[in-house]
Symmetry: C2
Subunit: 212 residues, 2 copies
């Protein structure tokens, strides 16, 4: 039995780092649930382009119910190739729709891009992109075409995929990918190098297969 | 601007320890919400007494909606004096109803005890207690009298209050305390020493005042 000595509690060590993201989702090991993962509520818009040298990023407004709770959309950014794997496979592009609740709970909706017809929302962001320079948009960019509206959503608890790698993040990884043009992907990849974090150990975490 | 070097990602440091529990809740600094914090669903029962030398602990069954999501009751244990403070004041006793969701999300409902009429559920646990020895109960103990059924609930994101101090815990701290007998408290305190962790820095975390 562990004995806890409250007189030496200043020496207790905080243990973290066992619930990191991204992960490789083995679909055969997920647990099916009838829970509603995501309900989009109202318009998703980008309002400010954030200059970084590693990714296209934009802040904006939007709202969703995630597992039936209120979350506000905060920012979107892109990773190439995808950070999350599905049965070991990586999509060419993955974007993260970062949300926050009133209590400060972080929740990220991850969406994969696949080559197909051009995507107007992605084009809107590419057109306004000026690497390393932030600027407010005179006209907001409609992000609707970057949001999937059907399919399975893999839900698990993880972390931010960039430092400080904070571990209080709910992940909603959408199985159904969204189309974007081959030229659009080439334009993005000409501007930014690979920025995918390696997959991390699952460490016994359950992954729930919910419905969008 | 921060430059992220993905070729040295093995050296990225995980940063944690800024969202610890317990906290001192300054009620004037909480944000009111109409969100339903807790809906008790079905019977809460203790089924096994867990022997520890620091607290009375029992595992059992029960279920609640916490912020409208399904959680299962896992275990109850006690702290004296209370770990959470309300405007700097500590109750003589605080118990933690530890819950878990299907994804493994931890959520703890914290309830304060105040001196008043004897509490049948608490007495049931005290009667079965054998410090340092675990045993299954032949008859489950009904925990109903340890659950508040009205009042404000302070909701914030924190940690376990004992090692490993893991930071993925939703806290629901009930403002309305529950009565227990003076003799009952004395019986408990004769068996266990003070086991309250010191309050931790809030670090800009919002605290939401919800309704039970």
């Amino acid at each position: 039995m562990t004995t806890l000595d409250y007189t030496t509690q200043k020496d207790w060590q905080f243990v973290g780092g066992q619930h990191q993201s991204p992960i490789d989702i083995t679909t055969a090991n997920t647990t099916a649930s009838q829970l509603s993962a995501i309900s989009w509520r109202g318009l998703y818009q980008a309002k400010t382009i954030v200059g970084t040298d590693t990714t296209l990023q934009a802040t904006g407004t939007g709202a969703a119910y995630l597992n039936d709770r209120d979350f506000n959309f905060d920012q979107i950014h892109f990773h190439t190739p995808a950070e999350h794997l599905i049965d070991g496979q990586a999509a060419p592009l993955e974007w993260h729709l970062v949300h926050r609740s009133a209590t400060g709970q972080l929740a990220v909706v991850a969406v994969f891009g696949r080559i197909g017809k051009p995507n107007a929302s992605f084009q809107g962001l590419l057109d306004q992109l000026t690497p390393n320079a932030s600027h407010e948009l005179t006209e907001p960019i409609n992000l609707t075409e970057l949001l999937p509206d059907t399919g399975t959503v893999y839900h698990y608890l993880g972390s931010l995929t960039t430092p400080p790698l904070t571990e209080t993040v709910e992940w909603y990884v959408c199985a159904d990918s969204v189309m974007l043009g081959e030229k659009q992907l080439a334009t993005y990849q000409a501007l930014f190098k690979a920025n995918n974090r390696d997959v991390q150990s699952l460490n016994e975490r359950p992954v729930i297969a919910e419905r969008l």
